[in-house]
């Protein structure tokens, strides 16, 4: 955790924690109205990667570890009471809470933890979040006794604990997995979390209700959480302005114009600006023509004006070009001055545009026609129009094809696209390794372009294994220089996303998570009268 991010989180937390709330006694009861940007469709938190899947199930499950709801930058035990690490840093032993029960009344034990991680770590099981983070690190998981579990690592790895604490590494019941085969069905949402899964009406609403047998006595304070499925910026903003939702803490963030509009409409909300550990990417399918040709990937890399995209589509709230954001990971990020001089990022664009045009003409003298995909969420349509407009300058004529959110993810996952105009990817952990293991390595869960670069794989693994901070930093700098310097990546980093969020002033003890996925269980949140 970097100092800069901690400072930011503390600042946001300070803003959100009023003096009054510190002295008030938590109140039981009330329903928190929240929203999802789309319909999750599938609910398997181990097998899916959209934020809406995480949101739909967040309060239902517990992890072995999690980020402290009151100090979101700190990892604490959840189902694990405590843990120890062997002197060589390769064996982690977790001592589990006793007397925990699943929502269906069955007892929780180490067998459930083993079943969960055997599933996630299975090489044949595609787990784009938890699996993508842990597979490179964890060798095996063993249940020593009903209340003890050990994780054997392949090598000592700093990102192990933060990865394990990620909201994607939830513990599922062995008997539920055996009964349903996966965690997609609403009936299979049986966790040990503060809330029980109550209802899922496709395209409409998801509801949780208070778990009276939650393993922390007295929690949660809320009677339930209601998540409205609100697709599209105007609908979300209209709901916020009409006081139908009490919290806007997740993706997509509001843009400044939306925040200003909300500020004019409501005086009972706190509006704040924050980063959400999310990167805006453009993907090219490196396994299919025309972008199996590195020259054409390079042409797109050079043609894209990241600064214009950030200025217009994020209204300036973002960090253009960077693979790692210094605001989030400190000096692991290549200095922005150096990033600004790399091909595709450097301004003015004349030299890069001329080279891009030459590359397109070399292979397609009459220009190139491509289909450009996007999901119909957030302001992706605006971003995609800018991307297509920029490509037209170098002879690439894109036709936009819009997909419904879940259908789009399915298409990206199958490699069923030529180019994705815009796709945000949020980090699971606040560690420099995240972006590489989510987007850039061959096995990365969101390497939709399917570009395999042996040097990226090698450097990412070396950085993961490296215990010395300075050497680790040098490895990440080398990685960033390699990807940015080649300028033929299939995952073009446009910029790190920032934005505006709000919470109802009646909401107490809510803290913005380190990533957009964390701290959404609402276990300690309460509503003032």
């Amino acid at each position: 955790m970097t100092t800069s991010l901690i400072a930011r989180i503390l600042a946001v937390s300070l803003l959100l924690t009023t003096a009054a709330s510190a002295q008030e006694k938590p109140r039981q009861g009330g329903i928190l109205n929240w929203f999802d940007y789309g319909d999750p469709g599938r609910l398997d938190v181990h097998a899916e990667s959209p934020l809406v899947v995480q949101q739909a199930t967040a309060g239902v499950y517990s992890g072995l570890l999690h980020y402290d709801p009151e100090e979101p930058a700190k990892v604490i035990g959840d189902l694990a009471e405590r843990w120890t690490v062997s002197p060589d840093g390769k064996t982690y032993t977790f001592h589990l809470r006793k007397g925990v029960k699943w929502h269906d009344g069955q007892p929780f034990s180490s067998a459930d933890v083993k079943a969960t991680f055997d599933r996630i770590l299975n090489p044949d099981f595609k787990s784009p979040k938890c699996g993508a983070s842990l597979k490179p690190i964890v060798a095996s998981v063993e249940a020593v006794d009903p209340n003890t579990v050990t994780f054997q690592l392949k090598f000592p790895a700093a990102p192990f604990v933060p990865s394990l604490a990620s909201a994607w590494c939830r513990i599922a019941a062995k008997h539920v997995l055996a009964k349903y085969g996966d965690l997609n069905a609403p009936e299979a949402q049986i966790g040990t979390g503060p809330f029980k899964f109550k209802k899922y009406e496709r395209g409409s609403v998801i509801e949780w209700e208070r778990n009276p047998s939650y393993f922390i006595p007295g929690l949660p304070y809320l009677d339930g959480v209601k998540q409205f499925i609100l697709v599209g910026g105007p609908t979300q903003l209209a709901a916020a302005k009409a006081s139908k939702v009490m919290l806007w803490d997740a993706w997509p963030p509001m843009r400044k114009t939306q925040a200003d509009e909300l500020r004019r409409a409501r005086d009972d909300v706190e509006i704040y600006q924050a980063p959400i550990n999310t990167i805006f990417l453009i993907y090219l399918n490196a396994r299919k023509p025309p972008f199996n040709n590195p020259d054409l990937r390079r042409a797109v890399n050079l043609a894209i004006d990241r600064q214009e995209l950030v200025a217009k589509s994020l209204e300036g709230a973002g960090v253009p070009c960077a693979i790692l954001d210094p605001k989030l990971v400190g000096d692991f990020a290549l200095p922005l001055e150096e990033v600004a001089k790399t091909p595709g990022c450097r301004q003015p664009k004349d030299q890069d545009l001329a080279e891009a045009k030459r590359l397109v003409e070399k292979h397609h003298p009459g220009g190139l026609d491509i289909e450009v995909g996007l999901r119909s969420v957030g302001n992706y349509a605006d971003r995609a129009q800018l991307v297509v407009s920029q490509l037209r300058k170098v002879g690439i004529r894109g036709t936009l094809k819009t997909h419904e959110s879940a259908a789009g993810f399915a298409a990206w996952g199958k490699g069923d696209f030529t180019m994705i105009a815009t796709q945000d990817r949020s980090m699971d952990v606040n560690d420099p390794s995240g972006i590489f293991h989510i987007v850039y390595t061959t096995e990365a869960g969101s390497n939709y372009g399917r570009l395999s670069d042996a040097k990226v794989d090698e450097l990412a693994e070396r950085a993961l294994r490296e215990g010395n901070r300075d050497r680790r930093k040098q490895l990440y700098w080398e990685l960033q220089r390699h990807i940015l310097g080649r300028a033929d990546t299939a995952s073009i980093p446009v910029g790190w996303v920032e934005g505006w969020f709000f919470l109802d002033k009646r909401l107490r003890n809510y803290k913005h998570g380190v990533t957009t996925y964390d701290n959404n269980t609402f276990m300690k949140v309460w509503l003032a009268q």
Partner: protein
């Protein structure tokens, strides 16, 4: 010619006003490349610039000139409206004429197909078709064609049933005229009035459906200068940039108003009970 035009203006002043609006619309559509100060997809300007001398209708959320997009939008709307109406009404009319003339099981069967298509709410049918066909201007035309065909088939069939039973058609049969010749020489010409009225009254309908589909994100791709698509973008910044909604909304209203006035007038002129004649 001028005298007939003068009589039309006097007897159908609203129709004349509608014709004027439609003529202006056609002129804007045809001359779009000359009239538009910038490309409809050119994003090189600052976003959300209020109407000014440089940008009379302001700029949109990605920095495009709204005036240029409204002008190019006339071309898209007219193209989609005319193409889908010509295709849909022509196919439907031919369908109606053929089933009315031949009658029997084919007529009964085909009318049940028409019933089924007309039972579906038009916008739901159009949305389903767009979901199945995918987003493109061509597919919008195809979906509108499918939407318009049954209405035309049902309307023209009702006229053609009367024509097919007329004594002059029986006489043509008695003299050995082939079915094709009778349809071509006698039935179709006598259904032309209905065909023309259907054509004129449905262009505005097609424009509104296209705009609705684009507004719902199921019509033309988002970067195409569709008036409906521009409304969708405008709604996202209703308070910040109301001009993004105002000008395309005004364009839709004017176009539909003009086409409706003209269509009503043509209907009046072709209806023997209403027309006073121009001659």
């Amino acid at each position: 010619m001028l005298a007939a035009l003068g009589r039309f203006v006097v007897r159908q002043p609203l129709g004349a006003a509608g014709a004027l609006v439609v003529l202006a619309l056609v002129a804007v559509a045809v001359l779009a490349p000359r009239l538009a100060p910038h490309g409809p997809k050119e994003t090189g300007f600052a976003p959300y610039v209020a109407p000014s001398a440089e940008f009379p209708m302001g700029t949109d959320q990605v920095g495009r000139d709204v005036l240029s997009r409204v002008i190019w939008g006339a071309r898209l709307s007219l193209y989609v409206g005319l193409a889908s109406v010509v295709l849909g009404i022509t196919l439907g009319s031919l369908w109606g004429v053929a089933t009315a003339y031949f009658g029997g099981a084919a007529d009964a069967g085909s009318q049940r197909v028409v019933d089924s298509l007309m039972a579906l709410p038009p916008i739901i049918l159009a949305l389903s078709l767009m979901a199945a066909l995918g987003q493109s201007v061509t597919n919008v035309i195809l979906a509108l064609t499918i939407l318009l065909t049954p209405t035309a088939a049902r309307t023209v069939r009702s006229v053609a049933l009367g024509v097919a039973a007329a004594p002059y058609v029986e006489a043509a049969r008695a003299t050995g005229g082939s079915n094709w010749r009778i349809i071509r020489r006698h039935v179709i010409p006598n259904c032309m009035a209905s065909y023309i009225v259907l054509m004129t009254t449905n262009v505005s309908y097609a424009i509104v459906v296209e705009a609705s589909l684009s507004f719902l994100g199921a019509g033309a791709p988002p970067d195409e200068p569709s008036w409906g698509g521009m409304l969708t973008a405008g709604v996202q910044a209703l308070e910040t940039a109301p001009w993004m909604v105002f000008f395309p909304g005004l364009a839709i209203s004017l176009a539909v108003f003009g086409l409706n006035l003209l269509g009503d007038s043509i209907r009046d002129l072709t209806d023997p009970r209403l027309r006073g004649g121009l001659g």
